[in-house]
Symmetry: C3
Subunit: 190 residues, 3 copies
């Protein structure tokens, strides 16, 4: 159950963060949808590759498409004066996507019975894939490399899951929310 | 039958467009082959990932290699004064690759019984993959994001195939040719 | 046996070359680990895709993680005054990764009974993948395209393996060492 929720949350978050980057770069309507979709599915594709699910399985979740398209529409329609700080919102949604996919990557590594070091690497790579796709396509330096504190929270996710501290759905949700908050705090007060 | 033809056409088109970008950037002989090959197979690899065919299946089409190498050689030998307008030719071959792979992506999504929104997304992502690989490697902003009208024709392809308007091989060829022409017209008269 | 050794060598070499690029760009401790890990596993992921091994098989080699993390630590601790010439060392480790993965790509293509042209393309793409991932993430023009002589040695690797000149483990090791040396010489005396 937590697994599906995290998939949905991660996909929406990356769709929104792609759309926000496109608006920062002043793309038109179509460009906003494009970068949103490519970020959401690029992130999902990299996650699937890393956790051994066929990339083409993305297509089987038709609900996901509607959710992603709806989320991008919401970004586009959102009152411009509320969103003077794209930068902050972009980072917020990126943080959500990072947390959601990092947990999935770590859970998959645990399932394979891997050691802590591999679980941590799986969390970092799975979590940062979507943002990397977005930034490379928008010709930006990947956020994960520009701002290294970014990935520290993915490392913490890997450690918490790797040592079996978070196992139940509830504890995974708590981990997800607290990782996102920590990431946002580390951004605001750096 | 149409499927194989579209694979061949798409691969050639991306090989040629990669070689043209390499000549624009004044790479030497070897660089032209390299970017041509990487674009053709990068595009094919992304298509395979998205439609659930193993990427390594690329190697089984040995004819494809000879065709791609031959196409790149043709670009390199082509009289320079005929090709003063790389830009236009580059866009032409890119349009061919986009159409060919967009149709394959849409057909695959139809086969899975997916809804229209997913078919459209599959058409856009499968069609634009090759050009994205080429532009990222040449450190350019991806054409698909720079010039958004680009992907509109992939969306149209998705809709036409999704509503079952083009099914027979003949109608797929007609769709392919008209998408390419519309894309070229939208480029010339923008 | 040679296959496993080449995997280990290639992964270490790309981890180190990623870490060196990160130090050139003056990333902090965390950034050096990140780019090292992403380069090592990005290179391995592209190799796996191209030779038909699931990307998620990367996680099963837990020893590899420890080796990669150890190699990056070594780069970070290495006396700064010994390494005034990052550039040269970066190219050296890149050359090692290129040779190791090019041999694996070529061997895989031979196993499929492919013609010489496909074997050469497999060698070039498999060998250059790791460096491409590293350079794209660091917002550099891929070394393989900037410096075309780079890939000539991967082509030679493909030809030597394709014509059955190197088959035994010993001859593969000799091929690996001589390709690396030729690549380094072509860099030093260009």
């Amino acid at each position: 159950m937590a697994w599906e929720m995290l998939s949905i949350i991660g996909t929406i978050a990356f769709a929104v963060s792609g759309a926000i980057v496109a608006m920062e770069e002043e793309y038109d309507l179509f460009g906003v949808y494009l970068l949103g979709i490519v970020t959401a599915f690029g992130g999902g594709a990299i996650r699937n590759l890393l956790i051994g699910v066929p990339v083409s399985a993305l297509w089987e979740q038709e609900m996901m498409f509607h959710i992603a398209l709806f989320a991008i529409t919401a970004v586009f329609l959102f009152p411009q004066d509320l969103l003077k700080h794209w930068n902050r919102w972009g980072n917020f949604f990126d943080a959500i996507g990072l947390s959601a996919f990092a947990i999935q990557g770590a859970l998959f590594a645990v399932q394979l019975g891997l050691p802590i070091s591999a679980i941590v690497v799986a969390a970092v790579l799975t979590g940062s894939g979507g943002g990397i796709v977005r930034d490379v396509l928008a010709k930006r330096k990947p956020l994960v490399l520009k701002n290294e504190i970014y990935a520290v929270w993915a490392v913490v996710t890997g450690i918490v899951i790797g040592f079996g501290i978070a196992v139940s759905d509830l504890s995974l949700y708590i981990l997800f929310v607290s990782t996102t908050i920590l990431r946002v705090i580390s951004y605001l007060y750096k």
